[in-house]
Symmetry: C4
Subunit: 344 residues, 4 copies
């Protein structure tokens, strides 16, 4: 028997409308960064340890003080109702069942309240608006519903160009409730509602002060930016190139992680996403110093093909893989994974 995860993208391509599948799969411009993401994890080779006691393997990890049973966390992706009628709620159910963490996109088609009702541990992702107060209703609603952290996506002063071919795009198919479920009525009609193009460290401070939640800055690829985030009071930085959807040609996150960890790893948590697909990739991320690894597309494909059960299955399969990987590497827990496992 093969892996559930292995044919996932192909199966999603089969069942989803072409425009929807393309929206999720595509990277910006030539998809350079998207297509290099997984390969950068795969390049690493391991030096497994032997003669260690791995009788008890513990997969638990802690992010921002919350314990996760499953260390494969789920990154924010917009438009989940495009792949499943219940969208983010169905996603939340699968994640909750697996014991992982969900980051809810600001473009969610489900409300924070409905998501929270599944019992999932969740964070709220936000794009800060040109007119700062315009994003506050979303944040307050998230906090009230139980979001444990705010994720500030910092890599999107403008949305990276994607090349679509002929035919309809997801925006032609999008139903009214596919996104923006957590925004007040009329949001989006004023220029101040647009994504801010003048973000700075002061916005990190402002978000922390205003929401009283830990602030995670997502989209950081550089050590100097990580330092600026840490100094502005970020609780964590998230090494991401937005799944290759913003600057095409951005370095692979697997190649950026270590320098960021070296700079701020003692002060804040460091997460990573981008092309993470297997337990081995997650081990690599932890070996390079990450506290958590996130996946964007695979959970969406699992949701689109098998609903909540698919999401749970995906995460469960990865848990099993990770248990085996840790045993074979001589590590009874992710905390024991260090850079010394990598062959360099």
């Amino acid at each position: 028997m093969g892996r559930f995860a292995d044919g996932l993208e192909e199966r999603a391509a089969d069942v989803l409308p072409e425009a929807v599948f393309r929206y999720f799969r595509q990277g910006s411009r030539d998809s350079t960064s998207t297509s290099e993401a997984t390969a950068a994890w795969e390049r690493h080779r391991f030096l497994p340890q032997v003669l260690r006691d791995v009788t008890e393997v513990d997969l638990r990890s802690t992010v921002l003080g919350a314990e996760l049973a499953c260390p494969f966390a789920v990154a924010p992706t917009a438009m989940q109702r495009a792949v499943h009628p219940e969208g983010e709620v169905a996603m939340a159910r699968g994640i909750a069942a697996a014991g992982s963490l969900m980051v809810v996109s600001s473009n969610s088609g489900s409300t924070f309240e409905d998501i929270a009702a599944t019992g999932v541990t969740f964070w709220a992702q936000v794009y800060v608006t040109a007119d700062r107060p315009a994003c506050l209703p979303l944040l307050h609603r998230a906090a009230a519903a139980g979001a444990r952290a705010v994720v500030l996506t910092a890599d999107t002063p403008v949305v990276g160009t994607k090349h679509d071919g002929e035919g309809p795009t997801i925006w032609d198919l999008a139903g009214p409730g596919w996104s923006h479920a957590n925004f007040p009525d009329g949001y989006g009609s004023s220029p101040g509602d647009a994504k801010a193009t003048d973000l700075g460290p002061q916005d990190v401070e402002w978000l922390a002060r205003t929401t009283r939640l830990p602030v995670v800055v997502k989209g950081v690829l550089r050590a100097d930016d990580a330092r600026r985030c840490a100094e502005a009071g970020a609780a964590a930085v998230w090494v991401s190139n937005h799944g290759g959807r913003q600057f095409d040609g951005a370095a692979a996150t697997a190649d950026c992680l270590e320098a960021v960890v070296a700079e701020v790893g003692d002060e804040v948590e460091v997460y990573v996403d981008g092309g993470v697909r297997t337990a081995r990739h997650v081990v690599t991320a932890h070996a390079l110093g990450a506290s958590a690894a996130f996946m964007g597309r695979p959970p969406v494909y699992a949701l689109g093909t098998e609903g909540s059960a698919g999401v749970e299955r995906l995460l469960g399969e990865l848990d099993d893989e990770l248990t085996e990987a840790l045993m074979l590497l001589g590590c009874p827990s992710l905390g024991r994974v260090t850079t010394a496992l990598l062959s360099r």
Copy 2:
């Protein structure tokens, strides 16, 4: 929608006579250097900056004191009347409309006066002749018509061999007025009219003294040669391997640029060409220290397929790409692009 630029070469191959298209596309011998040029730009990966104010993006740049609205400058290529009846004049119109800079080949089929009449900012490229005074009429005519600089092409003591197959070449098709429009009558019939094989720094001095224009030395790949040019009074050096048309196996210009900038970048301007095709390549060139990047073939293909409007469209599209790229890289202008953007 895809990029206008992406199918340009293929569309040019469709509309141009085979011998004409081949003339523009081909490199010398095995086309090693031609085929590696773009790949050398593509190799670089970026570390975009976040949390910067990119509300105002300014594409303007300055070369030899002249401000360009569009930083994609156009390198000299001979025989533009082979692809368009109005040749260099039509090219000039498109460049002027885009707000860029044109370098007119010494083998132009249009006169400097007609080119100048389009309002374009232009420089005149020259091959210094075996008998030095033989090239003066061209230079004086250029200066009189308003050329802002002289470009001395230094990499062509002999024309690199190209392998043509069977069938006619561009020289079989060439109409009488396709080139040499700016030379006096009878030019080319005396041995002294041939390209000099004994160029030296003294020719740079002589050109500057004689023309009273800034002299740009084109075809420099080495730091030591750049130093000799700077000491001879060049205003700029232009890192070029002639589009891969001279020594086949010459290093990619993207790989030569940095050493030249390190040697003379504080004293003279440094330009680059060779395989530049996208805004990302231009950003890379500036990150490696170039003051300006030039393109040879793409404007010719745009001219050959859509005339002046095609040239303007090509440059406008690149401007739009560049605005997005600079925003995503956290740089409000090209002046803010430094080597720190590159992942190494």
Copy 3:
């Protein structure tokens, strides 16, 4: 005439049941490590020596005090009766005829006594059991039959997942006597009979003390683990990633060998396996400091296609190749092979 060894895998694929061939060929998960093993040997280039006396070439080598006529030793592989009715006994006959060394898998389908009767020099491979004494009967039986050493396979706290497709697996075809011929009746039915997951250096000491045989630790890829083995009294460490069948993504053994030799090479013997297929690979292994190189799959394929004679032919052909290689490298014996032969 080509090499006997070259078409061996293909011929085995032809004559063996698909499930049997697949079992031997496959690596764990994506077969990354399996498929990289030979390539890592092939990467090395040589600087042959000239003007040396190679009139007499001596292939003999010594492992743990025993002299081998043929330096291509045979690694333990389970289930040899799946490819030949007489299984390990037929294998032993071929190895004995060639003058090489056999390591008998703990999952042998032939008894140590029958194997010993062929006159082969052999060692016994063991998986230490969760309940330590459970593995003693096998070890005592091996010792009594004449095993010269115990090989503790340390890389298997759990068996690495293999992806089989549809159809039967070897376990569906396995006859009753295909494995476990050397275990006492009823072995395997108690939980303590399972592979230990808490192996440590103390087990190396215990094995040496209990069996009074030299203990070889197989599956070591790291210098620090090699050090721990040496300090625990191992007579040798065996650099192996189990033919790519345990942690997929483990480094190629050719790339691990040198660091292990640097750490413990002065104190214990160091062996290597994984993708060794030619005399050149064996020379490379010795150049990198190995005392012996082992092969797993090729002897099985030789056994499956041509029986004992095939095994002898394979080893004999390699001997001839090695004689030629040593002459062309200017080395009259393997002992004269050093790292200076490699181009770096």
Copy 4:
């Protein structure tokens, strides 16, 4: 028009009997070294010099005191009568016409006297025999006929195995006079006539003393062996892996050259062969410190397809290429080619 040299191998494949063509083309075993030879030259990239006087380009070079008009020298290859009825004599005519140097194989099918009669400058290649005096008649005959040097091939204590397929080999087709034209009658029938397997530096001394000719040691890939040759009185060392026909996996000569030059370049001349096919390769060889570059197969293919005229044409074309290359690199002669031309 393409290069005469480019289709040469294909044309030779067309006109020569398959067994003959295969004999010349093949490398030992997997042809690893043969197939990597040219690629190793091609890997180098150049930094052409500009603003140099290249009005006069001088291709002359000097080897062992003899001036060559054409710097593409011809390595010894056996059995030239297999490709042309007049064999080595026809080869000599072409080389003489081009003004280059011929090294006559000890397995020549033409006599030294007939070769000398063409006026060609030639050296005699020798395999020293197990019984040393057995090779003296050949050497004395060569010297008497005018050979200017002796080339001791040191890389062949045994002939490297080649894998032939089905069908006849060159030895089945070989006519009586295809080789050994310069040996006394009955040569080859005594064991002492076999190639020596115990060559040492003393044989270099002995050859020099006995023949009173400069001795060139061919087949040296290592700096330490080059040193031993120089100390034994060699006039030159020739970096060669025998066209990939001896140890398969030997490093590319382009990768060995520099270390040999660094070791002995101040004391003896250093030559190189292996995969040299273009003027650029020859320039690379000189840039890395070689005094001369030799070609083995291409002149044979030229001889087989177009006779003496083909050989002359091949060498003449390369001369023209080299003139252009030197002009474009800013070097008026090969003596001005240094390592600074290479991009590193």
